[in-house]
Structures are given as C-alpha cells and as structure tokens.
C-alpha cells in the first residue's frame, strides 16, 4: 500500500459513526452489500501506518464483527499492533477488539503477552484497567502463567478500582493455570478484610465461584465468611456468602448449626427481596433439618407467593420446589396458591406450579389431581396442554405406577387423554398401555375395552399423533383378545379401510393383532374343551386363559350335548355360566360374562363373514413392499386357507359326531393359540447383560464400526413384541436369555396393607437413591422401603409383619390394588451418576494444599483397592442373577395356592430381606469407595498429564473452626 493512498484513506476515511449511519440507511435487503463494501474499505485502511486511521478501521471492524457477525480473525495482528499505542483511545480500541474477537486458538495471542504485562504494571491505572478487562476474557494457560506475577502485584494495588478488577480477573487466571493459586491465594484472602465494600464483594464473588465447584477445599475460610455473614450489611456480599455457606453447611453439620441463626436474622431483618430469597434458598436447600428456620423460610415464601410481582411469585414457586420431601407440608399448605397459579398468565409460573402439583401427587389424591389437570389441559394452549399431559403421564407411571391403585380408572384416563385434541404424547401413552397390559393382569379387561373404543373410531386414524396410541391399543386388543366382548367387531376395527393411513410399522401391529384375534376365534370354534385343557397345561397362563377356563368349569357338569346346544343358543347361556362359574374369583365375572358372546363367532354365518372380511382386507396387501406387512399378511392368509374348508365341514356335521381331533387344522390352531396365550412379561433393560458371553467369542471384533452405522436406525417397536415369542413347548427352558425375570408381587391384600403402612410411616419413604437397588436381589414389589433407609429396614419389617398379622382397619380404598409385575432391576431408573467434570479440580487441589498443608494419600493405593472391589462386586452380581433364576421357577403357582401361601411368603421375605440388608449395606459402602476411587483415578491421570504433583485428593479431617 503506497503512502499516498494511505493518506487518502486517512483524509477520506469514514468514521464508525458514518459506517453505522450507512448501515442503518441501506435499502431493504442491501445490508450485506453495505457491509461487504465497508469491509473492503477496512481491509485497506487497517494497514495504514497512521495509527488513528488504523484505530478507526479496527473499531469499525469490531463493530461489524460484534453486531453484524463479520469475520475479523484476519485482523488479530492489527489489534496486537495497535495495543502498543501510547494513546489511550487506540489502546482501548485494540483491547476491545481483542476481547471481542480473540479465541483461544488465535495464534498472535502470545504476542500480546508483553504489552499486557507492560500495561498491567503501568503507572496509569486506566491502562491497567484496560489490560485486565482484556485479560479476563481472552486468558489462556500461557497468558495466565506468564502474567501471574503481575496479577499478584495488582491484587495489592492501592487503587480500589484496579484491585477489584484484578480480583475478578484472578478467577479466570486460576481456572487457566492452577499454579497461580499458590502465588495469589494469600493476597486474595487478605482482600476479604478490605475496608472497601466492592473489593470484598469481588473477592467473595471469586470464592463463591470457586467454592461452588469444590466446596470442601474452602472450609478453612469458614470463619472469614462467617464474620462477613454477621457483620456485612451489603446485600451483594451477603448473597455471595450465603451461596458459599449453602455449599459448606451441607458438608459440615457443626457449621450449619452455627450459621442457621444469622441467616434467619437476615431473613427477618432485610427488606431486600433478593437477600431474603437467597436466605430462603439456602435454608430450604441446605439447612432443611432446622425446623424453625424452615418454618420461617416457608412463611417468607408465602409472602412471595401472594405478592403482586410476578417475579416474586415465580421465585416463590421455585423455592417451594426446593422443599425437601419431608417438608411436603410446606407445599400442601400452599396448595390453593399453587393450583391457582396453573391459570396464571405467565407460562413460567404455570410450569413451575405444574411441577409442584405433580410433586404433591399421592395415592389418595391422584384421581382428583388428574381430574383437575385434565380440565386445565382442555382449556390450555397446545404447548401447555402437552406439558400437563406429559407431567400426568410421568407422575402416574413413576416408580412402576406406584401411585395408582385403581388401574381401571387409570387406563380409561389414558383413553381419555388420547382423545384430547392437542395431545402429542402418543409414544408415551402407547408404552404405558402395553406396559400396564403386561404388568397388571386385573386391568386387562378394561384395557381391552379402552383399546376397542379407540380402535373402532375411524376418525382417530386421521390424526398422526394418535397413531402410536392406536398401535398400543391394537397390540393389547390382540394380545388379550380373550377379554374382548366382541372379537368380530374387533376384527372389523383392525381391518377397516382407513388403516391404510397408518405407517407400515403400526399397520403390521394391526395385522398381527388380527392374526391373534382370528386364532382365538378359531380356537374357540374348534376346540372349546381343548382351550381349557391347553390353558391348564400352562401354569403361567391361568389368568390370561381364564375365560376359557371359566367356560370349562361352567361346562363340566353339563353333558356334551347340552354344551353344544349352549353353543348355538346365544344369550341364554350367560346365566348358567355365571352361576356355575360363581365360585371362581369375583373379577372373573366380567370375563365369563363375555363368554356367551363368543357363540356369535361360532355360527357358520359369522365365521364366513370373518373369513371374507380378512380376505378382502388383506389379500391386496400380499404385494406390499413392507416386509413386516407382507409376511404377516401371508401368515394370516395361510392359516385361513388351511382352516376354512375344515371349518365348513365342522359346522355342517353339527353336533354329536364332532371329532375335532381328526382335523388337520386342529394341531395347528392349538399350537398357534398356545403360542399366543403365552404370557408376555416386561423385559428388564439389563436382561441381555445377564447372558454370559461364551468363552472365545469376541463380540466387539469387526462389528465395532457397525454401531456408528446402525446407531440411529430405529426398529419398529412392534417387532420386538412379535418376533421373539418363544414357542410354548420350550417355555421353561433356560435358553431364553431375554426372558423377563418377573417378580410377582404380593397379593393385593398385602399391598394395601403396605399402602397403609407407608402412609403411616411416611418418613421412611423419602426419594431414594436408585443406585442402591441396582444389584439387590429382588426387592419386594410395591415396597419402596428397600430403596430407602436401609438401616431401619429390619425394624420396618417387624412393624409390617405385625400389621399383616393383626389386620387392623381396612384402608379406605374400595378396591384393592391389583398385582403389578415388577422386574428386579430393569425398572430402576438408571440415574446417570456422572459427576460433572470439575474444571477446577486442580484449583481446589492447590487451594487445599495451601489451606490444609499437604498430607496427601497416594492415589495409587486407592485405585488398586477399588479394582479389587469391583471384581468382587461383579462376582456377586452374577451370583445374584442365578438366585433370581431359581426363584423364578418357583413362581408358577395357581392363584389359589398363591393366596394360601401369603403368610409363609411374608415370613420368607422377612428373613430374606434382612439378609439382603446386610448385603446392600456392604455394597453401598463399596460403591462409595469405588466412586471415590474413580475420582482419584481422574486426579491421577490429570496429574500425570500436567505434571503437577501433590494434588491433595484425600480430604483431611476438618478442624472445628467455629466452635
């Protein structure tokens, strides 16, 4: 660039103001042109030897970069160059450009080191300020290392303005270069005693940031913080100190005791809402064991909740959500406000209120709360409507439907939710429909009823959001077809023309369900007796096959002729069958009532009708390109072909000489039906992990890359239900690796007692640390006590057995809670135990070293021991699994024997559980140790990498500073 044009640039250069004006005045859509033109100018001007021209160009570029996102990485060197100008505005422009545009990878960053050092040590504090402002943003490990001594000097600056900036900068420097802590820490601590309130505020702010990441290291500073807590009257300082104490108090009970009173005092005295809120938060989150403090805090929360200011209402609700479960009274006390907030204009407040409402859900009020929420959902905008529905679904299914007593109600609620216009929770509802079907036997008739109502409505097929729900409905209807009041109608619903609106994967489920319905009908038509026979031959099916069973019972007294007469008569059979089957359990009445209707499908006419229906609906699909559909259609048509002729023969022959055994189709149908009446249970998430890997089999080899390829392929959910169905003959074989390990829960009787017990001893049932249960043998279902206070477990059990023996007053529920199947471990929500990687590990390590002295324990020993532990642990787990397998076998019991065994079962459980307690406790300890082992491991790795020795990883005993 020649000097001449440079001069021209200087004279005719547009200022930043001109640039801004031109950008503002551009024609619509012309902005990019204006900017690129300006950038062209800047590229020329910035190379000028005249610093003023350069500075102006840099300013323009910074502006365009910051607000119009123009690239300025190419100009980094110009910023460095300009920073050396003695003229303050130039320097300011240069540092601003650097702080806005430099990234850690900017290569000229290190060229700035010297200039920064010079300015940090400058006699002009304005230059120092500028350098600090820049350093606080662009600091890298290299810069931090090189400038630590200068920062140290500035921390002792006599000018408060500079000192507080240096303090704030030190946080960034520490995080980049932990050794800076060793140099600067003492000076930083000294600033806590400064007379200047802003200096103290900045210092406390820095400690607050540091302590949030690793509180324990700052415990020795507790006396300093305590002094500030008591003496300071500056709200900013107090808020930060409170945040520090919220962390420290959780670690040291004695400290908690000491600070709780001053905090309450602030809460009473202060008029500043921010400070009061911080006090509330500290008490509710970290000091919740101090009843009187909690009471005071909740009273303050109430003031927030009824305030006109929506910010305070919002924060009040947020504070309530912090309330520990053992202080649930605080939420209940404010129930009306919370419910009222559901209709607040502010979406934040609504959402917060919704969360609180869901926290209040219990067995007693779940119906009422859901009722209220559904009314709100119907009125709400689509987004909030779905929030509400999501909350209902998750709250009700929490912990394997812990709060649900009346599953019939819940299932019909699911049906109702499906029909809410904005509902987009299809997948969740589908999962719950099938899940409940598998887990809760007693609810299946109602489930089939709800499913039928959804399936027969052709309008629903037009709504893609409901397709997943329909998928679930189709599956339950097919799987539990024996509870259907009208299989023919169900068949029609499954094959209706509008099903072509469904995605193929769901349509495949429909077809498979139709297959099941057909098999069921044929089975009943061909072999009424055999149906009963087959069911009694499979102990696992007692319940699912109960209608046929009941039918069998009802017919045993009758002559064969009479039976056949009954088959042709339709409704008249209802009374005798109910009467004869009257001695079976009450809940069978419903299913046996469905029996007579089955006669409809037995007539020649209706059979023909069904065959025609299936053929017309499915024949066109034989050519489907979707393999799932194609295959299933072929199956069903094949079965139809096989049976149709013989079926006709069967009807023409009429009664008497009716020898089904001769028919070829007989075996097939029997087999099919047996296969379909095989109960499908929930499968543990971890089921596959239990399969021992055969020796010599390297699973990962070669297929390793497959994961990246198949990672996001989603298999249609339906296939998992149908493809892996075990053949009934091998049912008890050990070969089924994906066999669910089912824990049949105690009878409803006992579970209601449990409910009662739970209510009475509510304190035991705090939210549990789920990890604890993962490897436990098999927790008694519906009994969260195992997940809770383990030490009180034995005592708890004693009370429980006492109760079950004494049988005190019946709980208020009209209906006993049905049995809910639970898996031993698959139902545990796998809480990611991942501890957030703490960046400041090394900072706090250095701090500890300074504050505690170095009595480090070599981490290597820790790691070794944890390795040993983990190997021991895995051994135990496999042992446990074997046990589970054994127990499973003994679970096939008839319903009557199940009832009679209650008592001994309970006792068994007692002894078993107490054994388990010990084991659990052990394991607990181990896992804790292991966890810390991991942490040390990380420390070690880092130490090696960075070559920093003596990071103190073991916390020494905390001296009693305050007492």
């Amino acid at each position: 660039m020649s000097g001449g044009s440079s001069l021209m640039d200087s004279i005719f250069q547009r200022s930043l103001e001109d640039l801004i004006k031109s950008v503002r005045l551009h024609l619509p859509g012309g902005e990019p042109t204006v900017i690129s033109k300006a950038l062209e100018e800047i590229r020329r001007e910035i190379r000028s030897t005249d610093l003023t021209t350069k500075a102006e160009a840099l300013q323009k570029l910074t502006y365009l970069h910051s607000l119009h996102h123009a690239d300025m990485s190419w100009a980094a060197f110009h910023a460095v160059e300009l920073s050396s100008s003695a003229f303050l505005p130039h320097k300011r422009a240069a540092y601003l450009a650097a702080s806005i545009s430099f990234r850690p990878s900017t290569d000229v960053l290190l060229l700035l080191t010297n200039q920064l050092r010079k300015d940090l040590n400058s006699t002009n504090h304005l230059e120092g300020s500028l350098a600090l402002e820049c350093l606080s943003v662009i600091c890298t490990p290299d810069l931090a290392r090189d400038l630590t001594p200068d920062l140290f000097t500035m921390l002792g600056s006599s000018k408060n303005l500079v000192r507080k900036k240096a303090i704030a900068t030190s946080l960034r420097v520490f995080s980049q270069y932990s050794d800076a802590v060793r140099v600067c820490f003492k000076r930083l601590v000294e600033n806590l005693e400064s007379g200047d309130v802003q200096t103290v505020s900045a210092t406390v702010g820095v400690f607050c940031e540091l302590a949030l990441k690793e509180p324990r290291a700052y415990m020795p500073l507790a006396p300093e913080f305590y002094r500030i807590l008591v003496d300071s009257r500056n709200n900013w300082v107090l808020i930060k100190v409170l945040k520090v104490f919220a962390k420290l108090a959780a670690l040291e009970p004695r400290l908690a005791k000491k600070v709780v009173e001053p905090i309450c005092e602030h809460m009473r005295r202060s008029g500043a809402k921010s400070l009061v809120f911080e006090c509330i938060r500290t008490i509710l989150s970290s000091l919740s064991e101090y009843e009187s403090a909690v009471k005071l805090a909740v009273a303050k929360v109430r003031e927030f909740l009824v305030d006109d200011d929506q910010n305070l209402r919002y924060l009040g609700l947020q504070a309530l959500s912090l309330v520990d479960l053992k202080h649930l009274w605080a939420v209940l006390e404010n129930k009306e406000v919370v419910i009222r907030s559901l209709s607040d204009a502010d979406p934040n407040i609504k959402l917060e209120a919704l969360q609180l409402v869901m926290a209040m859900v219990s067995e007693d009020n779940v119906t009422e709360i859901c009722r209220v929420l559904i009314t709100y959902a119907l009125k709400a905008d689509p987004e909030f409507c779905n929030e509400i529905l999501g909350f209902i679904l998750s709250a009700c299914s929490r912990n394997v439907y812990e709060v649900i007593i009346d599953f019939d109600w819940y299932v019909s609620l699911l049906g109702e939710i499906s029909r809410i216009p904005h509902c987009k929770k299809g997948e969740e509802i589908e999962n719950q429909l099938t899940d409940i079907g598998m887990r809760v036997e007693d609810v299946r008739p109602e489930l089939v009823h709800v499913g039928r109502n959804l399936l027969i409505d052709p309008a629903l097929l037009g709504n893609p959001f409901i397709h997943r729900i329909l998928c679930g409905a189709a599956w339950v209807s097919g799987e539990y077809v024996q509870f259907s009041t009208n299989p023919l109608e169900l068949m029609e619903a499954l094959l209706q023309p509008r099903t072509n609106l469904l995605p193929p994967s769901i349509r495949a489920v429909y077809i498979q369900s139709a297959f099941k319905v057909l098999t069921f009908c044929l089975n009943v038509a061909f072999l009424p007796n055999e149906a009963a026979y087959s069911s009694s031959s499979c102990p696992i099916n007692e319940y699912s096959a109960s209608p046929s069973f009941a039918g069998h019972e009802s017919l045993t007294d009758c002559e064969q002729d009479e039976f056949l007469n009954l088959r042709v008569l339709s409704q008249s059979v209802k009374a005798p069958s109910v009467k004869n089957g009257g001695d079976t359990a009450v809940n069978h009445v419903k299913t046996s009532a469905s029996l007579p209707l089955r006669n409809d499908i037995l007539t020649q006419k209706s059979a023909d009708k069904m065959f025609t229906l299936v053929k017309t609906a499915l024949a066109p699909l034989v050519g489907s390109h979707e393999v799932e559909i194609h295959e299933r259609v072929c199956n069903i048509l094949g079965l139809l072909e096989l049976t149709q002729n013989e079926m006709t023969g069967c009807f023409s022959r009429e009664k008497g000489n009716f020898e089904t055994e001769e028919l070829k189709a007989y075996e097939t149908i029997k087999m099919m039906r047996n296969a379909f009446s095989e109960e499908i249970g929930p499968v543990a998430v971890s089921a596959r992990d239990r399969v021992p890997i055969p020796e010599g089999l390297v699973l990962e080899e070669n297929l390793h890359n497959l994961e990246t390829i198949c990672g996001d392929v989603q298999f249609p959910i339906s296939s998992s239900f149908f493809l892996g169905r075990p053949h009934s003959g091998e049912r008890d074989g050990v070969s089924f690796f994906n066999r669910p390990i089912i824990e049949v829960s105690e009878s409803s009787n006992e579970s209601t007692l449990l409910t009662e017990h739970r209510k009475r001893h509510g304190l035991y049932y705090l939210p549990s640390d789920k990890k604890e249960v993962v490897s436990c043998e098999y927790p008694p279902p519906n009994d969260p006590k195992v997940q809770d206070d383990i030490t009180d477990d034995a005592e708890d059990l004693v009370k429980l057995t006492e109760q079950s023996l004494v049988r005190k007053k019946k709980p208020s529920q009209a209906k006993p809670r049905p049995v809910v199947l639970k898996l031993d471990e698959g139902d545990e929500i796998s809480v990611a135990a991942e501890k957030p990687e703490s960046k400041d590990d090394m900072v706090s390590g250095a701090v500890r070293e300074l504050l505690f002295g170095s009595d480090a324990i070599p981490p290597s020993t820790q790691i070794n021991s944890s390795d040993k532990l983990s190997s021991k642990r895995s051994g135990k787990v496999s042992e446990v699994n074997e046990n589970v397998g054994n127990v499973r076998k003994s679970e096939h019991r008839t319903p009557s024997s199940r009832k009679s065994k209650h008592h001994c079962h309970g006792k068994e459980r007692e002894s078993r559980s107490s054994e388990k307690n010990i084991e659990l406790r052990e394991e607990n300890g181990q896992s804790n140790k292991q966890k810390s082992g991991h942490r040390h491991g990380r420390h070690k790795a880092r130490q090696r990498a960075d070559g920093i020795a003596n990071v103190v990883s073991q916390t020494p005993v905390i001296p009693d500073f305050l007492l």
């Binding site: 930043l16 103001e17 801004i20 503002r24 003023t52 102006e56 300013q59 910074t62 502006y63 910051s66 607000l67 996102h69 690239d71 003229f87 303050l88 505005p89 300011r92 422009a93 601003l96 806005i100 990234r103 850690p104 304005l126 300020s129 600090l132 402002e133 606080s136 943003v137 662009i138 303005l161 507080k164 900036k165 704030a168 900068t169 946080l171 960034r172 802003q198 505020s201 900045a202 702010g205 820095v206 949030l212 709200n235 900013w236 930060k240 945040k243 921010s274 809120f277 911080e278 929506q310 910010n311 209402r313 919002y314 924060l315 204009a345 502010d346 979406p347 934040n348 407040i349 959402l351």
Partner: protein, 158 residues
C-alpha cells in the same frame, strides 16, 4: 458468573453483545436468534425469567427486561441471584442514562465503544465489580476525560 450480556431491540437486532466465555460468532448468532424467539412470544407483564436450559445448557438462567424498544438480557448461572441480577440490570441502565442523559436506542447504536466501557466497569470477566451507577459513571468519565484531553481528534466517542 454472568455468562453474557445482550442488548437487542424489539426487532431482534443486537445492539450490544458481550460474552464472557468465548463463543464462536455463529453460535452467538444462533443464541441471539433463539433468545429473541422466546422473548417475542412472551406477553407483557409476565415474569422476567426464562428457563434457558434448552438454549444455553444446564444451570443457565436468563433474566430480561424491556426498556422502551430494547430488551436487556443477562445470562448467568447458579452462582448469581436472580433478583440481584435484575437490580444489576437497573444499575446498567441507570449508568447509561446518566452517561447519555436520557438514553434511547440511538445512543446505544452510535456509542458502541462507550457502552462497552460502561459495561466493563460493572462486570469484568463475568464477575460483578461495581453496583453503584454513579461510581460507574465516574469511572467511565475519568477514562474518557483523559483520552480527550490527550487528543485533538476523538473519533466516535463524544
């Protein structure tokens, strides 16, 4: 700490963007756009807080306030108090008001550098360093007085 301060107008045009942790320009743009999307959808007279987890990651909180045509947005984490940040926002606006006597959007548009200087006196490296608007004004005026006395030509900054 405070992670970012953003001032934008009611059309979504950024007027001041300051991130205290490095963010690539594209990411900044995306953040500003999604924040603006949320702000637009909010009715008047609702609370000043927004759940920002989805936009800014866990722990992130967002406080905003509308002044005439401008949204002031502060993004911060759990080590700050929501109400205190609202106050801080007030301090910032007061300081602007004192510096530009009766501040309006145009002042902020045309005083890019000075607005940054004012903010730098209040927040440094994500830490609050001054909470009194008059102290802030004093410091900024001192800085700019020195520069104008040294120079015959002060671009942009009046």
């Amino acid at each position: 700490m405070i992670r970012a301060v953003i001032v934008m107008n009611d059309k979504g045009k950024p007027r001041l963007v300051k991130f205290y942790e490095f963010q690539p320009v594209e990411k900044q743009q995306e953040l500003i756009r999604s924040i603006y999307g949320v702000l637009c959808s909010r009715a008047e007279k609702v609370s000043n807080f927004i759940r920002a987890d989805s936009i800014l990651g866990p722990d992130a909180r967002l406080v905003y306030k509308t002044y005439a045509t401008l949204y002031f947005v502060f993004i911060f984490d759990t080590s700050e108090n929501e109400l205190a940040i609202l106050d801080l926002m007030q301090v910032f606006v007061e300081a602007l008001d004192k510096c530009f006597s009766n501040v309006c959007e145009l002042d902020i548009v045309f005083n890019f550098n000075k607005v940054h200087s004012i903010l730098d006196e209040i927040i440094l490296g994500g830490q609050v360093i001054e909470t009194s608007s008059s102290e802030v004004v004093k410091a900024v005026e001192e800085a700019y007085r020195c520069s104008s006395s040294n120079s015959s030509f002060t671009p942009v900054v009046n």
